[in-house]
């Protein structure tokens, strides 16, 4: 398992660089396998502590079990948990489920816009209070200038173009062609005003690495990833109107690893259960350039 150690070491280095260099730092926790591995790595990097807030973008359409799992771990690991939500778009029903917009527009409203507004504090943020055990409106107007994300370069084309530290401009846009070089474990940590940096510690990991690591470290996962007897499991998690399970008999980590190794899923893209990708001609690219994760 030497290569898992190498991946772990590199990710920890990146996390510590982010913490040392970026003032207002937060981590995006989507509740999925990748960002939960990232959360685990954070606890490793900081010796059991998570020294920055975790942000979840709630679309109000998340599979309910995801929210339950989020709050369980929040309490168990004493996390500084914040969720952001685009209440305006939901109020006027600008969602795919209500039939008013298409999938791509829905993603832009409930995820891209919600993320942008949560980071710059213009949207509603709710913070978990460990005393009351409930979420309360977060009155702080702190603007996050650095956000750690669990994206991997093997997921799809545009993500393989990412740097470990990737600067986004004030309109949240990603200028792929203009990225500064990044080499020898040195990152672009200085930010122009109004811009923010996205940090990608998992860029070198594959889906298989993620599962092998979850198994090795015994990281608790939301059970939606496992087949509970119906021959179905989720391979990627999102909003229920646009996320569908795949056919799979894998009941636990070991069986998922075997499934991936045997190439059973070779002809199915990891995000094939995510309907918004198919509606966007260039994979996720046009979504991502405008700030999607």
């Amino acid at each position: 398992m030497k290569y898992l150690n190498d991946l772990e070491n590199k990710s920890i280095y990146i996390l510590r660089e982010a913490y040392a260099n970026i003032k207002n730092l937060a981590m995006l926790w989507s509740i999925g396998k990748d960002s939960t591995v990232l959360l685990w790595l954070t606890r490793k990097a900081f010796f059991g502590h998570v020294p920055f807030p975790l942000i979840h973008i709630d679309t109000a359409y998340k599979i309910p079990e995801m929210i339950k799992y989020r709050d369980k771990l929040t309490k168990k690991w004493k996390l500084n948990m914040i969720y952001g939500i685009n209440e305006k778009a939901l109020a006027v029903k600008k969602t795919f489920k209500s039939g008013n917009v298409n999938r791509i527009e829905c993603c832009e409203n409930l995820k891209t816009k919600a993320l942008e507004d949560t980071l710059n504090a213009s949207g509603s943020r709710y913070k978990f209070n460990h005393q009351t055990g409930k979420y309360h409106l977060d009155k702080s107007k702190e603007v996050f200038t650095g956000i750690i994300l669990g994206i991997r370069s093997d997921e799809e084309g545009s993500r393989s173009k990412e740097r470990y530290f990737s600067v986004r401009d004030k309109n949240n846009q990603w200028r792929v062609g203009e990225q500064a070089p990044e080499f020898w474990d040195q990152y672009n940590t200085d930010l122009p005003p109004k811009e923010h940096v996205r940090i990608h510690p998992l860029l070198d990991w594959t889906e298989l690495n993620i599962w092998e690591y979850i198994e090795r470290e015994k990281i608790p996962m939301v059970s939606l990833y496992y087949n509970k007897g119906q021959g179905l499991r989720y391979r990627s998690l999102g909003c229920y109107p646009c996320t569908f399970p795949i056919k799979s008999k894998a009941k636990n980590n070991k069986e998922i690893i075997k499934e991936l190794k045997l190439g059973k899923l070779k002809n199915i893209a990891e995000r094939s259960g995510r309907a918004q990708d198919k509606d966007d001609n260039g994979g996720l690219e046009s979504l991502r350039r405008r700030g999607y994760m």
Binding site: Y3, N9, P181, Q186, N188, K261, N267, N281, G283
Partner: protein, 596 residues
């Protein structure tokens, strides 16, 4: 057929190994992406969805499907036909897994080629047999040597366009070998291939019976990427010092990733550039895992036997091993990727490991043409994508190794404005004008008698960070009055503060100084004043000193002596001298106090 033979592999062979990363480099349109596409389909890693999407895209653009589009997945690139960035793709052979890094060949995107190639264990350099050696065939070779990549395979591609002639292959190989030798690289092998038809990629094919060497896949599998470090001196950049107090955690952890060698519990360690010495108490990890020693590349933490005031940017070393250099001046080979040319005399930010300092290029010895290797003397600037040998001066002393000692701790980047714009490797230390001061501080810190009360505890108890306030300005002024007023105001606001007047030193500590040469005396006065201030700062105080018309050089000298502590230089008078934080008058004390 080819894919099947891969699938048959036992699973066990494919796990437990680190994937090897390969960068494909070379001139634009020499066929790098085509070869990668060929490798991916021959090793059976292409998912159906991916091909269909690319096919659809090709159809939409009325273009024939090409393997190259697999990598050039972004819409932009397919319309332009060039790879913008370094895409990463994974595949596996019987022996091991690979990550492919496709580095763009277009000169416009050299910065992306550098980004991609710097992550690689090995490089495959692709040359078009039909077009022959082009500028980027050379330039990329040169940059690989600068980046420290030593395992290289050279592919002579598009042999199909030359009628698979041996003579074409041989003549390119000969010419290119001469170049590689000059930059200190020896290629693992040269292979004649056709990316389009697959000759010598996975199997030999029938077109080049005269070639008896390795096919690409065999050549890749045969390269040993394990580094044989000749130097095993322990090195670790301090990334941070953590003291998380939640849940009653009282550990003070020095965190970092081991850059070279190994270290164990109880080993005597020294931090540079400060020269502070102690021993390792424990190795820290989460979840708790007992370890007696720790090796290269491991991300860890340490607690120390004695509490030292350590900050990010120090290099942790072993006392009984070779020590690194500590200096402000060094000679380096650099490459420049910034749009704005690099010029001598301009300030840049230099980052080496976790150190970050202001630096200036004091001299460009010569410019090196990365294509012809011709050297030009007497140049004033280095343009984008050029290389040079330069002398660099940092504002504060930094710690480093030279490239012949340890590669990792000899590499630095230069930041122009806010973007990484260049990289370099240190060839040798140059003797700084302040060498005596630097050496004295290292020696003093090495032998410093440590208090049982760590400085952090003093900071907490006194509710203040020790700081040195230097008040300077023209000779005949109310400087002393200002310093005393400042002391009083700070004192009344509850601060532990001490004004150390020069007169208190000259006739006491400095009583033995009776040089007729006033300049020598002045420098010795400053040295002694700084050393006394350093002791008072270590006690946890805010210290105010006053001296007339300090030069920037003298200010830097004082800063070196008290390098652990924050220094606030104040110019007393109407208009401040360059390098000082604004001018201060007797009426502006309250404004200054806010900063302290």
């Amino acid at each position: 057929m080819k894919a099947k033979s891969i699938k048959k592999n036992k699973l066990s062979q494919q796990t437990g190994l680190k994937p090897v990363s390969i960068a494909f480099v070379g001139h634009v349109d020499h066929g790098k992406s085509t070869i990668i596409g060929r490798l991916l389909s021959d090793t059976g890693v292409i998912a159906d969805g991916k091909i269909e999407r690319i096919k659809k895209n090709c159809a939409d653009n009325a273009k024939p499907f090409e393997y190259a589009f697999l990598i050039d997945a972004l819409k932009d690139e397919q319309t332009q036909g060039i790879t913008i960035d370094s895409a990463r793709v994974f595949f596996k052979t019987n022996k091991r897994k690979y990550i492919i890094i496709d580095a763009p060949g277009h000169i416009e995107f050299l910065k992306n080629m550098v980004t991609g190639a710097s992550r690689a264990d090995m490089a495959v350099l692709v040359i078009d047999a039909n077009e022959g050696l082009q500028t980027n065939s050379f330039r990329h070779g040169y940059f690989l040597s600068m980046l420290g990549i030593k395992k290289i395979i050279v592919l002579i591609n598009k042999m199909d366009l030359t009628g698979y002639r041996k003579s074409v292959f041989n003549s390119i190989c000969n010419e290119y070998s001469v170049f590689l030798k000059k930059i200190g690289i020896s290629a693992d092998c040269f292979i004649p291939v056709s990316g389009k038809f697959g000759d010598n990629i996975f199997s030999s094919g029938k077109n080049m019976p005269w070639y008896k060497g390795k096919k690409l896949l065999d050549a890749l599998d045969n390269i040993n990427v394990c580094e044989n470090d000749s130097n095993e001196d322990f090195r670790m950049w301090v990334q941070d010092v953590y003291k998380f107090t939640e849940d009653g955690d009282s550990r003070r952890i020095i965190a970092g990733t081991v850059n070279n060698g190994k270290v164990g519990v109880n080993d005597n360690i020294v931090f540079y550039p400060s020269g502070k010495k102690t021993a390792v108490k424990t190795i820290e990890r989460f979840p708790v895992k007992k370890a007696k020693s720790i090796f290269k590349n491991e991300a860890v933490g340490f607690t120390l036997k004695e509490q030292l005031y350590i900050k990010r940017g120090q290099l942790m070393c072993l006392e009984n091993e070779n020590r690194p250099y500590v200096s402000c001046d060094f000679l380096a080979n650099i490459f420049w990727l910034g749009d704005k040319p690099l010029t001598a005399g301009t300030n840049y930010i230099l980052k080496i490991g976790t150190q970050k300092v202001s630096a200036v290029i004091t001299d460009i010895n010569n410019k090196i043409d990365a294509v012809t290797l011709k050297e030009t003397k007497k140049v004033k600037k280095i343009n984008k994508n050029e290389a040079a040998r330069v002398e660099i001066k940092t504002k504060e002393p930094i710690v480093f190794d030279t490239v012949d000692m340890i590669q990792e701790t000899s590499r630095f980047v230069l930041v122009d404005d806010i973007q990484i714009s260049g990289g370099g490797i240190i060839l040798k230390e140059l003797i700084s004008s302040n060498k005596a001061v630097v050496d004295e501080c290292i020696d003093r810190n090495f032998h410093w008698v440590k208090s049982a009360i760590p400085i952090e505890e003093k900071i907490e108890k006194y509710g203040q960070k020790p700081k040195l306030i230097i008040v300077t300005g023209i000779e005949k002024s109310d400087r002393k009055k200002f310093a005393r007023n400042l002391e009083k105001k700070l004192f009344l606001s509850g601060r532990k503060v001490y004004f150390l007047g020069i007169g208190s030193v000259i006739y006491g500590v400095d009583a033995d100084l009776k040089n007729t040469d006033k300049k020598t005396d002045r420098q010795e006065h400053i040295r002694r004043l700084s050393e006394i201030a350093n002791i008072l700062l270590d006690a946890g105080l805010i210290v105010i000193i006053s001296a007339s018309e300090l030069s920037l050089k003298e200010l830097d000298k004082i800063k070196t002596f008290v390098s652990d502590f924050d220094v606030i230089p104040i110019w007393f008078g109407e208009s401040a001298k360059k390098g000082f934080e604004g001018a201060a008058t007797l009426n502006s004390i309250s404004k200054i106090i806010v900063k302290i």
